[in-house]
């Protein structure tokens, strides 16, 4: 009888220890997920900021600027599932950078208004 009670208590303690160990582990994992997500968000925000800045600085043609600004805006406005926003932004950036001559022509054929006039007010 007493043995039974002791056994049950011992079992309860064991289960309790195990559960609290799992809970602690889960909590730590949760914290790690949160940190990782925050880092991803920060990276996305940083990338979209750079895209916006690039769009507004006036070295690119207006069509590319418009595309970049749109992609950056969409990335920022995206809600929880950020993978889509990330890959869209990546696709846009890749399309822009992958354009032939984009790097060698940045002082190339632009109109008199194209290269000037845009201040940093496009940001944000």
């Amino acid at each position: 009888m007493l043995i039974d009670v002791i056994l049950i208590i011992a079992l309860a303690v064991l289960v309790g220890v195990y559960v609290s160990w799992r809970a602690g582990r889960l909590d730590r994992l949760h914290a790690r997920v949160d940190t990782a997500r925050a880092a991803l968000d920060a990276a996305l925000l940083r990338r979209s900021s750079v895209a916006l800045e690039l769009a507004a600085c006036g070295v690119l043609d207006p069509a590319t600027s418009l595309l970049l600004a749109g992609a950056a805006h969409d990335a920022r406005a995206a809600g929880e599932p950020t993978e889509l926003a990330e890959s869209d932004l990546t696709r846009s950036l890749r399309a822009v950078v992958g354009q032939p001559d984009a790097s060698s022509h940045h002082a190339g054929p632009h109109g008199p208004h194209g290269a000037h006039d845009h201040g940093p007010h496009g940001l944000g």
């Binding site: 769009a55 207006p62 590319t64 600027s65 595309l67 749109g70 805006h73 869209d88 354009q99 022509h105």
Partner: protein
């Protein structure tokens, strides 16, 4: 006049803007103007001799979907060369707010520029974010055209300027003569519908419910439906005994579309709203089809208050059934409506519409000077 038209989307992909530009270019040439079009195009597609390729458009996320657009310095320099060599009297860009060739053309060119806005888009924050780049390019536009009141409203909101309203045209001769599809309309009579099946505003549901009544009353009556969408979904709404008399063509070619209009006794436009002009209606009129249409403002105007086609209470299947039934029973009335429709559609014929566009050109072209490239 030497006119340079700029198309922002891939030439061979079917689309309203592309079709508009093709029809406009051909109508302008018909009026004796010289026309060159620059458009993104795939390398291996044969282009009409008035179209110059600006290279391939690149698929890129834009406005919530993936669009094929032409941007970047290579595209810009191709447009620049085309403008330089074209020595145009006027440059006419289409959909210049899209990040593609038209916007680039505004950017690289100097001189008389006319722009046409096709789609109505709500003012977005994207427009704000890149406003300076967009604004400086769009400020060069001397004359604006909008194809619908909604597009015009968009333009007024975005730029503060106003636009001349010139609706889409229809190339009447393309629809005027066509042979009916084999076996149509048939002795029992036929009704017709053209448009997206799964878009509620096109009103297919209203027509299907009217067909329940009409089909039951008239054992030989058939219904011909052309347009993209899920055929099974649509057929499910028809009661079983009538199902075999509803024929779905799905998406049709330009030629089959004209033939479809000629294959029916009564063409139905049961739209429940949102139609600014109704190009389908104009095509049906050009085909000389007797028409029953919803009593929407836009439709009433196109159908001259009911003289060029019957109007029924918008969204009311029994009124549609009544109006269509009356027409099916009255061949004389159908002939009269057909003649009136063919007559009324003349004002929407592309050569006529193109003349209005030329008036806009004339208004912006100064006595001297051509379109050149920006320094």
């Amino acid at each position: 006049m030497r006119v340079g038209l700029v198309c922002p989307y891939t030439w061979e992909v079917p689309g309203g803007v592309q079709q508009h530009i093709r029809d406009l270019a051909e109508a302008l040439m018909g009026l004796g103007h010289e026309v060159s079009v620059i458009s993104p195009a795939d390398d291996d597609t044969p282009l009409p001799d008035y179209v110059v390729s600006a290279g391939r458009a690149v698929p890129v996320p834009y406005n919530g979907s993936v669009a094929r657009l032409a941007f970047g310095f290579l595209s810009a320099s191709r447009v620049r060369r085309w403008v330089k060599e074209g020595a145009f009297d006027v440059l006419h860009v289409h959909e210049p707010a899209a990040p593609s060739l038209s916007l680039l053309a505004c950017w690289v060119a100097d001189g008389p520029i006319v722009a046409t806005v096709h789609t109505a888009t709500p003012r977005s924050r994207v427009m704000h974010a890149s406003a300076p780049a967009l604004r400086t390019a769009l400020e060069k536009v001397n004359g604006w055209i909008a194809v619908s009141e909604a597009a015009r409203t968009t333009l007024v909101e975005h730029t503060g300027g106003d636009a001349v309203l010139i609706p889409n045209g229809v190339t009447v001769r393309r629809y005027e003569k066509a042979s009916p599809l084999p076996g149509w309309p048939g002795a029992g009579g036929a009704l017709g519908f053209l448009g997206r099946m799964d878009e509620p505003r096109k009103g297919l549901d209203v027509l299907l419910r009217a067909f329940e009544t009409l089909g039951t009353q008239r054992p030989g009556l058939r219904l011909l439906i052309a347009g993209p969408g899920d055929t099974d979904d649509a057929l499910e709404k028809v009661s079983a005994p009538l199902r075999e008399r509803v024929i779905m063509l799905g998406q049709v070619t330009e030629d089959d579309k004209a033939r479809a209009y000629h294959s029916v006794d009564v063409f139905c436009a049961p739209n429940t709203g949102g139609e600014s002009f109704g190009i389908v209606l104009a095509e049906a009129m050009a085909s000389g089809a007797p028409i029953v249409a919803s009593d929407l403002d836009a439709f009433r105007q196109v159908l001259r208050g009911g003289r060029a086609g019957e109007l029924f209470e918008t969204g009311d299947p029994s009124d549609l059934a009544r109006a269509a039934g009356r027409l099916l029973d009255d061949p004389q009335r159908r002939a009269d409506l057909s003649a009136a429709a063919s007559e009324a559609v003349r004002v929407y014929d592309w050569p006529v519409v193109a003349r209005d566009v030329v008036h806009v050109y004339e208004a912006v072209v100064p006595a001297t000077g051509q379109v050149g490239v920006a320094r």
